[in-house]
Symmetry: C2
Subunit: 178 residues, 2 copies
Amino acid sequence: MKKLRPDLTSEDNADMPIEPTDFESGLGEDDLIDLRIWLRLLTCTNLIERRIRKNLGKKFDTTLPRFDVLAQLDRTSDGQPMRELSKRLMVTKGNITSLVDRLEEDGLVDRQTSPRDRRVQNIQLTKNGQTAVTKMIPEHNAWLTDIMAGLDRNAAMDLHALLGELKKSILLNQDEDI
Amino acid sequence: MKKLRPDLTSEDNADMPIEPTDFESGLGEDDLIDLRIWLRLLTCTNLIERRIRKNLGKKFDTTLPRFDVLAQLDRTSDGQPMRELSKRLMVTKGNITSLVDRLEEDGLVDRQTSPRDRRVQNIQLTKNGQTAVTKMIPEHNAWLTDIMAGLDRNAAMDLHALLGELKKSILLNQDEDI
């Protein structure tokens, strides 16, 4: 079994605070770069998501999916239809519907007829929902700033741009959308 | 509601095949770069994961968590203890245990006493499991190559390195590990 124990004197680990065990464990330089990118992407996403989930629970006694809905609704002034919300949060309409139902029971969102199209129901933040998310968003952003503090600002801009290239590549090579 | 419809003449979208609706929708240049990186990371991870799930289902009638276990076991010659597998796949020990139980029922993995430590049970691929994953891995890699075909190889190396910087930053700034 290779790499189960940290070898802190090896060059590979010199800059790492610990030898982490994650999706990348057991991969080597000889593995495909696309696979190495994917497993590193997945590792970073998992690590950040885990931190945010934990912080949201501890600080606001809420969950990531609930926060995601509220934060997404905060980005438009007159709410969003269920279908749009489901696409923006990249989850199924069934999942988003049950989430929204529970947020509505808790008085954080409600449904209003769209001013643009009377056939469409928009999900909107209530006053309480707005108050709640207005407290959460700056904290959530501060966690991210903390998480990414080790990236200098040029590296951050480069990473954002390269992830943009990756996203373009994914979208160009897809056979179908959801 | 902004950005609900694609504006294909605008400069922003000139290079994009479509105006995608995802975690990044509604974000602008004025938003924190750390937040923009996070939501782009999450979007890319979701898009790739969705593609791989769909392909695994269509081509091998299997799921991503099952593939993840088999592919991870393929990286070591004498199996891995449950605890190590759970850390490598970044899921709870409870989740991994029920996955492994089902893979064992299907004859794809079994448990063997570790040659290194008689108190530890290693999860190992069976012959059938090895045959199955040996078919899946090259296909899985080919999907990733296809997904990332739009990234030139220098961009791919840079992206891998910058995700490494991000990972280091996440690990340096964490208050506790799982």
